[in-house]
């Protein structure tokens, strides 16, 4: 199968699934779809930092929260349409991300992880205690998002916009992957010294990756305000970060299709585990460790190496097999 036909098939499958979702008749399915699309953006953002630039950063939920609160507060204050409020939320998240990045890029893996973890916890504490602005522990009730023609009042109305934003962000990510910046990040992940030696400014690239990642989280926060009506600081804690982290790891760290596979699988997991809620944490931990042990490059990595070994059986295609993983 050629590259073009493959891409066309994928695109066609995507269009079919995307248009099928609202016609299934259940508003709950639409809600799930919105949620999964939001997590796609959130997870891609974390993957840019963790999977591509190799930076151990745990502050993602903080930027997600900033996106949610800024977008909805701007909406409450001005009533601007969502295609203005979401970029504002994303910019504020990116700005905070850039501020954090300046000192954070000086830190090595372990310390960066702990510093960003601490920052996320402080941010959650602020969301929980800044009563006048965030509503504190009572949570914040959103106003319906404006489209310029009317209001978004339910999941079904939000769905096309959420879908459009997710597709737009995926398209951006594709371009980022192929850009000089994307390749610089890949180089830093492999070896900072080698990257420096090839003329890449390590600290600047890290800081940019940090900022971009925060912008993605901010956009995901804005998507959250489109289809949800309420936020509580509890959803902005470490558990959400672990969920997003697991999506990346289980799907395939550092690969766009892998992240999407992981998000869809873990997004549907609560449905599969209906009735097993008490054992949810246990099952979750087992899946996470199991994937790390038996599929080090995630489900997508397993699929790719399976395809490579299929190709390798034909002698003429032998050279395409990547040396990355032993069969």
């Amino acid at each position: 199968m050629g590259n073009l036909t493959r891409n066309l098939t994928l695109a066609a499958a995507f269009v079919v699934v995307a248009t099928a979702v609202p016609t299934l008749g259940s508003i709950y399915i639409v809600f799930m779809a919105n949620m999964i699309l939001m997590y796609v953006v959130l997870a891609i953002g974390l993957d840019i930092l963790l999977g591509r630039a190799g930076q151990f950063a745990f502050a993602h939920t903080a930027f997600f929260g900033i996106g949610i609160y800024v977008t909805s507060l701007v909406n409450i204050a001005t009533g601007m349409p969502f295609y203005l409020t979401i970029p504002i939320g994303a910019c504020v998240a990116g700005l905070v991300g850039a501020l954090i990045a300046l000192p954070a890029t000086r830190l090595k893996h372990l310390y960066l992880g702990l510093a960003t973890f601490a920052f996320a916890e402080v941010a959650q504490w602020v969301f929980n205690n800044w009563d006048e602005v965030t509503g504190g522990a009572n949570g914040l009730r959103f106003q319906p998002s404006q489209t310029g023609f009317g209001e978004i009042t339910n999941d079904l109305e939000a769905y096309p916009f959420v879908l459009a934003i997710a597709v737009f962000m995926i398209w951006i990510t594709r371009n980022l992957e192929l850009s000089k910046l994307g390749r610089s990040m890949e180089a830093i992940k492999e070896s900072e010294h080698a990257a420096t030696a090839s003329g890449i400014s390590v600290n600047r690239t890290k800081a940019i990756a940090f900022t971009i990642s925060a912008v993605y989280a901010g956009v995901a926060g804005g998507m959250f305000t489109l289809f949800q009506s309420y936020v509580h600081p509890d959803v902005l804690g470490f558990d959400t970060l672990v969920l997003v982290l697991s999506m990346i790891v289980i799907g395939g760290i550092g690969t766009l299709p892998g992240v999407i596979v992981g998000v869809v699988l873990l997004g549907l997991l609560p449905e599969v585990m209906r009735g097993l809620e008490t054992y949810q944490e246990f099952i979750y931990g087992i899946i996470l460790i199991g994937v790390l042990m038996f599929m080090p490059r995630g489900i997508w990595g397993r699929i790719m190496s399976f395809r490579e070994s299929m190709n390798a059986e034909k002698p003429e295609a032998k050279s395409t097999a990547s040396p990355g993983e032993a069969p």
Binding site: K108, Y111, A194, F282, M293
Partner: protein, 300 residues
């Protein structure tokens, strides 16, 4: 008036700080020899205190029996996690940053498994606390009040730290462990079974956490989520630069005292955010920790 606050804060802080120092030591022992931050450290503490609760409730054995039993059970958890999970992850991935990421995420997975084991058990429904180890009648040190149990906790914690120090400094096994942590390749060259040492380090650290868990459980409320206290140990470890044992112990005590004084003077609401602020401040000012040496640069 403020002298009483200060003394009370100091006394209470030294007691909780000694426990934080123990947990922080268990993190640092693991970090020094495997470079992994153990995000399941708090859950090991949690498991140990629940095991203690079950033994005490069902058999009524004394604390003298309970402590070793708990330490042995977490020792086994630690060793098997290293043997079964971490060695496999390490063996399957290319060395470097990504294998560390994978190993740290595996500890997050372990923490979920441990929480998931405890949560469905009926005893975890309600908040519990361990029965007091001994009479909790107060003792006065100047104007400050401290309970007899607190003195015992402090004593046991300090004793464990001294025992750990003696073990690492003077026993052949402890020296072999240190050699492995300093330079695994050189240790292997002089005939130290490095792989076994790594497993042992995990077991030892988890056993140490068990002692900390039993010490802290009579003082706080037990829930399956009590592992969150690990963040205090992270802060203590960061003050010590994650490598310097005395620095980590000082960090533990400092954190206990800071926490107590913040609670007494600012607000109890601010206690929960204190360790995070400490972490951020220390990392901003001196990323290698207040006691860490100059930050090292790894060769390519």
């Amino acid at each position: 008036m403020w002298e009483i606050y200060l003394l009370q804060g100091l006394a209470g802080g030294l007691v909780t700080g000694s426990i934080y120092a123990l947990i922080a030591l268990s993190l640092v022992i693991i970090y020094k020899s495997t470079q992994v931050i153990n995000f399941a450290g708090g859950e090991i503490v949690m498991i140990a205190s629940y095991v203690a609760l079950f033994i005490l409730l069902y058999t009524g054995m004394s604390y003298w029996v309970v402590v070793p039993l708990c330490a042995i059970s977490t020792f086994i958890i630690g060793i098997s996690f290293e043997r079964v999970v971490l060695t496999r992850i390490q063996g399957r991935q290319a060395p470097g940053q990504s294998v560390l990421v994978a190993m740290v995420i595996a500890t997050v997975g372990l923490s979920y498994i441990l929480k998931g084991i405890i949560r469905p058990i009926p005893y975890a429904d309600e908040v519990r606390t361990l029965p007091p180890m001994m009479a909790i009648d107060p003792v006065f040190i100047g104007p400050a009040v401290i309970s007899r149990q607190d003195i015992a906790i402090f004593g046991i914690a300090v004793f464990s730290m001294i025992a750990l120090f003696v073990f690492f400094q003077f026993t052949p096994l402890g020296r072999a462990l240190r050699a492995t942590a300093d330079n695994a390749r050189a240790a292997a060259l002089v005939g130290i079974p490095v792989a076994r040492m790594r497993a042992l380090v995990w077991g030892l650290a988890c056993g140490l956490s068990a002692i900390a868990g039993i010490l802290i459980a009579p003082k706080i409320l037990m829930t399956p989520d009590m592992g969150g206290l690990i963040i205090l140990a992270f802060a203590a470890a960061i003050i010590g630069g994650f490598t310097n044992f005395p620095g980590v112990i000082v960090g533990g005590f400092a954190l206990g005292i800071i926490e107590n004084i913040v609670g007494l003077t600012i607000s109890s609401n601010a206690i929960s955010v204190t360790p995070f602020i400490v972490i951020i401040l220390v990392l901003l000012v001196r990323p290698q920790g207040l006691f860490g040496g100059p930050s090292e640069v790894k060769k390519v």
